[in-house]
């Protein structure tokens, strides 16, 4: 029986139990003539929890554990030496057994019955192929019985699971229902379930982060065992030559500096565009605009945030880039008589400007919320002393909103650093090291994409470098966030 049907049954059992508990809770009040400790809805939730939680936990554990146990069993059953004789590794052999299993399952019943443990594998293979399952030619006769055994194991395991889980659900519901009485503190128990659920949810978020960081760390460690850290962090040349398969030897140069410089440079230009415009727009919206203007302008501004970044990239490629190039040609023509463009079509400037436009709605809508949340009384206090609006903004509102604005800006900076699509299209993929904003540069994220697209094994420095780049990016963003927290805390101490 498929997992989703099992889940459905469990949910149904819980719902029925919950409904019964609800009715029982109401009945209690009538029967005993006194108010039970908890309202019927809590009795229902109590029974629901008993029905759902243990059975679903069991289901999850079973789903994870059963294939693992199965695999261990099969691997132990490999005939000694046969694996090595066939020139296979254990992993490969197990893979083949698994796919034979898949092949068996895809056969119609009458054809499957013809195959038993003694059938030579050569007879079975054409049948599998006929039903769309291709199996490696290294398959051996001894694999077929193992595959059959494995399939039987999984079927039995699944039936057992279905029965046990449904029994758990019903048992839980029954147990919970039996417990219902006037004194039952269902309300407090449900509170505990809620509490644990919330803790589990946040742990999942945290564990995922930790997991990702660790996997990046391990892969990066692998990379740094092949390329020296010094060369990576301080190298000024990025040239990870993709060596032809098997040639080995040449590993190329993995200098981070050009990418880091490009990332920070483009990010800085973007922030230089986005921060003033976004902040001023936010101040206008929050302090000056009347309700009507705000109700029209704010959604319009936020539409900008809904445009996918690839569209901005497109816009940079076909409009902004050529515009800057032609403009620079005109300017140099006017100045020197020589109409050669000094701004390349793909440049730091183009990428920065377009990315800045993309970031405006972030800056403005985050800052707007923060500015609006500055208490009205401070505004009134300043205006009541005869300050103009702009004096009030500059001297009272912005200082009061500063911690929030700083963290909003750092959040925006993190986005700028992580942006990829705009850079690919607007600044190109050439890892130059330059201080001229009119030339092309590229960023860390672009190179990560470049290193990982293509048919590569995750064993060469050319691909592993992506993890080193990723962890570098992560550390930069982390530092930004920590710094934001520091500023906010320092400011709070001062003024609260």
């Amino acid at each position: 029986m498929s997992t989703s049907i099992i889940i459905l049954i469990v949910l149904l059992v819980g719902a029925v139990g919950g409904y019964a508990a609800y009715q029982r809770g109401r009945q209690l009040r009538i029967e005993r003539g006194m108010r039970p400790h908890s309202r019927p809805i809590y009795h229902a939730s109590y029974v629901l929890s008993w029905a759902w939680v243990p059975s679903l936990l069991l289901l999850g554990t079973w789903l994870i554990a059963s294939p693992i146990l199965n695999e261990i069993q099969i691997r132990n059953a490999f005939p000694e030496d046969a694996v090595a004789e066939a020139g296979l590794t254990d992993d490969l052999a197990y893979g083949i057994v698994e796919s034979i299993g898949v092949g068996l399952r895809s056969l119609p019943e009458d054809e499957r019955d013809q195959i038993d443990e003694d059938t030579p594998i050569e007879d079975a293979l054409p049948l599998f192929r006929q039903y769309g399952v291709a199996i490696a030619s290294a398959s051996q006769d001894w694999m077929l019985p193992l595959a059959i055994e494995s399939n039987i194991w999984s079927t039995v395991s699944r039936w057992a699971m279905t029965i046990v889980v449904v029994l758990f659900a019903a048992g839980g519901a029954f147990y919970g229902y039996r417990n219902i009485r006037t004194r039952l503190r269902a309300r407090n128990k449900v509170e505990k379930v809620v509490n644990v659920t919330l803790i589990v949810a946040s742990s999942i978020a945290i564990m995922t982060t930790v997991g990702i960081v660790f996997s990046m760390l391990f892969e990066s460690a692998d990379f740094f065992s092949r390329v020296s850290a010094w060369e990576f962090f301080f190298g000024t040349t990025w040239e990870p030559r993709f060596s032809a398969a098997g040639s080995g030897g040449e590993t190329g140069q993995f200098g981070l500096i050009p990418l880091l410089a490009g990332t920070l440079y483009i990010g800085a230009v973007a922030m230089a565009v986005a921060v003033p415009i976004g902040l001023f727009a936010a101040i206008y919206m929050a302090e000056y605009a009347d309700n009507r203007t705000r109700s029209v302008a704010k959604p319009l501004l936020e539409v900008l945030a809904g445009i996918p970044t690839i569209v901005y990239g497109f816009f940079a490629l076909v409009t902004v880039g050529p515009f800057f190039r032609d403009l620079s040609a005109q300017i140099s023509g006017l100045l020197t008589g020589n109409y050669s463009a000094f701004i390349q079509a793909q440049s730091v400037l183009t990428a920065g400007c377009v990315m800045g436009i993309m970031l405006i709605p972030f800056v403005s809508s985050l800052s707007d919320d923060i500015i609006t949340s500055v208490p009205r009384s401070l505004r009134d206090g300043s205006l009541g002393l005869g300050a103009t609006r702009s004096e009030t903004v500059k001297r009272v509102i912005l200082p009061a909103a500063l911690p929030g604005i700083v963290s909003a800006l750092l959040l925006t900076a993190s986005r700028a650093i992580g942006e990829t699509m705009i850079v690919v299209l607007a600044a190109g993929v050439a890892a130059n090291l330059t201080i001229n904003p009119f030339e092309a540069m590229t960023t860390i994220t672009v190179k990560i994409v470049q290193q990982l697209t293509g048919d590569l094994e995750f064993t060469s420095p050319q691909t592993l470098v992506a993890f080193a780049l990723g962890i570098t990016l992560f550390v930069i963003t982390l530092c930004l966030n920590v710094y934001a927290l520091y500023i906010v805390r320092k400011y709070k101490e001062q003024y609260e």
């Binding site: 009347d290 401070l378 206090g381 009541g384 005869g386 001297r395 001062q494 003024y495």
Partner: protein
């Protein structure tokens, strides 16, 4: 501090010959469609305390905010009628609101010190209006304002600590110091003591009594006792109308208007 109040020095009785500082003529206020004030005409005399009383929602704060055009900051509010400050209409389109608010200062119901140091709080007004020629003069203004607000002794060693770190009563006196630092002519106070305990209230009341030597004060209060203690003239508002106005002593002993009588006796029990 004298808590018995028996010796609380009362200002001189209202003298009819005091000059009129602010005069309102037929002031109406609408919030959107809703009318909050229905034609208020009230004279505020110089160098004395005028108390505005009345049940909640009757328009006291609304009227007070008309006097320094703080209603301009509310999008929906629309003010009609005339309000004269020294004979000049403050709703004249040519009038500079910023200058008006420097002349007619305001203290709010909830103490609202800026999240800056005590010194910065008081120096704020003088700085934006350029009242001080140099640093020394600014220092001088800050110190005298704090002294006049009766706060100097308590904070003189911690002028660079945040104003928000003071107690509620101290914060309110800081707000008063901040208001008087720009040397206004009129000070408007909207329930300045409603967030304070009795001791802080007494301090602020004494302060108001002193301030009336130099300033014209209009105070909104819900406490009849407070109105009786600090004011010389009392104006009773009711549902957007001015029910009655007169010398405080007369209002509390022998009101003409039935509504005033009900309100006052209701409060006094």
């Amino acid at each position: 501090m004298d808590m018995s109040r028996a010796t609380f020095e009362k200002g001189p009785a209202v003298s009819q010959d005091k000059t009129i500082k602010m005069a309102s003529k037929d002031v109406t206020v609408h919030y959107g469609q809703k009318q909050a004030l229905n034609g208020i005409s009230l004279d505020i005399k110089e160098r004395q305390v005028t108390a505005l009383i009345g049940p909640s929602g009757c328009g006291k704060s609304t009227y007070l905010r008309c006097l320094n055009r703080m209603n301009d900051t509310i999008d929906t509010a629309k003010v009609d009628g005339k309000i004269l400050l020294d004979g000049e209409n403050i709703y004249d389109p040519d009038l500079d609101v910023v200058e008006l608010r420097a002349r007619v200062g305001m203290v709010f119901q909830k103490p609202n010190p800026f999240p800056k140091s005590i010194w910065e709080n008081v120096a704020y007004g003088p700085k934006i209006h350029g009242l001080a020629k140099n640093k020394d003069q600014l220092e001088e203004i800050v110190h005298t304002s704090l002294k006049r607000a009766g706060l100097y002794k308590e904070v003189k060693d911690r002028l660079d600590e945040p104003g928000t770190g003071l107690s509620g009563g101290q914060q309110q006196r800081l707000c008063i110091a901040r208001a008087i630092a720009v040397s206004p002519e009129v000070i408007l106070m909207d329930e300045p003591c409603s967030a304070l305990d009795p001791i802080a209230t007494a301090t602020v009341e004494e302060l108001i009594d002193e301030l009336k030597q130099n300033f014209t004060i209009v105070i909104v209060t819900h406490s009849m006792q407070q109105a009786a203690r600090v004011s010389q003239v009392t104006a009773m508002f009711h549902l957007g109308d001015l029910a009655e106005v007169g010398a405080t002593e007369k209002m509390f002993s022998n009101p003409d208007d039935k509504r005033t009588q009900d309100y006052i006796t209701g409060r006094f029990g």
